[in-house]
Amino acid sequence: MGTEEQFAIAWDKFLSFVREYVQKITLQKAQSEKNIESYTKIEAMKKEPTVDNVLKAQDVLISLDSSLKETIEIIKFFNENNGNELVQAKEALHKILTHPLIQNYQETIANEKAKIKNIDLNIVECEKCLNKESFSFRYLSELIEVSPLSENEKIAVLSKAILDESSKKEREIPAKEEPTVSLKELITTYQNLVAKGKIYKEKYQHLLGNKTPQQMEYIKMITACLHQKEADIQSFQYSEEKMMVLLIEMLEVEEIVATETQGGLTKEVSPTKKEEIEYYVSNLEEIIKEIISLDTERVEEKKSEETELDENRILFFLDEKNRPFFDIEKFSNEEQNRIANLFKSLTHTYESYTRGDRHTKFLTKQKCDVAVFINKNGKMCLSYALLPEETILVLQIAGIKKIFEETEKIVRKYSVEIESYRTANLGALLEEQSNFKQELYDRLNIGKEVRR
């Protein structure tokens, strides 16, 4: 043991080492993040291992292993001379694709992620040392061991740490006598919420299951925006993506509460700590409420998509002068053929939307309390609203470039009128429009099967 002054000198030297060490591992972290990004780029190449994709990823490949440069030059040469089918070109391509770094890229990404996690933990511990907070002695000993301090200095640092910690504990003794409050009820609430959340976690796990690290990063960036109040969940319109964000947010908050309560094992804490945990639990409750409400919306949306419709129950939304919002005469013959196909398939395309064929688009946010769909055939589109009694109300027919704008115009201007169809005598309206429909179908050469 040395004097107080020797302790202080050794301690300062040690802190300088810790600062340098933090800088070093922060650089390592940045490198690992860069590696993950690079591997994400070669994912596309793995999915479609063509010469073009290999050449697109050449910079990344060379940065991962500079010895690949030569092989890439070979591929480039054959590609420029139309020789991709030659054995040498195929061999070079094979060499790239079977390179261990590329073949095991998923494992490498996982390793890099583990490295980042480990570095983050190290940084937290180092910061505790630098801020003179309560740190782990095991970690401190490891740090001292790898530091360039002399044996005497190492002992001095350890002694000072032990002395500081014990005097801190002495000072903390009165704090222990401060009143604590029970966490029992809060933990029960938290556990109930976790159980509730689990149902949705399982129901929607497929949404997150196949996402790339980059997609996951974007979802996490959105949750960070929500936490920092830079975004409002109510502005999110795409239900599937909104669900992904909510699920990740739920997992993040669950993890915070689990850490704060040591997985629900902490029985008593200070009132301030309790307030903090209460905040997170109520946050979790809000997220789960949002998930439940979104789930209900999605179920209802799906039900309306799955409704089987009678093809005779097609109505047209007409303006004040009883005219439709489209002029069939203005469309070319080819466009009219496409429109005829849209009418013929109108009742079946709901199913294709549900299957994800993307021929039918559902307008999610409208100032109208009626679900609006848009069907597409080539570049021609038809928008319509779903009415009760399995009736379709055709709103507009237009090309793909105009359909959204024009449908939105109608929905904005006539939302009250469109909604009034929900309580109207639809049978009488269908009868009223039968002549108009016949004329239109004759013009489009549609058979009698869709007439009334």
Partner: protein, 64 residues
């Protein structure tokens, strides 16, 4: 964070649109917006951040 997200995801979406030769009319249709609104959201951040996530998810799976 919102600006970082917007810059990064827009840049990546645009690069996917170029590299995969994506038809903007078709992409706008799948996103349920007009082409004009699509362009507007790429010029100025929209409050609906899921729009960008949806666009990115569609582009990742896009087949030429």
């Amino acid at each position: 964070m919102k600006n970082i997200f917007w810059h990064k995801i827009c840049q990546e979406c645009l690069s996917l649109i170029t590299s995969k030769n994506v038809d903007i009319d078709e992409l706008s249709f799948q996103l349920g917006v007009s082409k004009e609104r699509f362009m507007k959201y790429f010029n100025k951040p929209s409050d609906d951040l899921t729009f960008y996530l949806k666009a990115y998810n569609l582009l990742i799976e896009w087949r030429e």
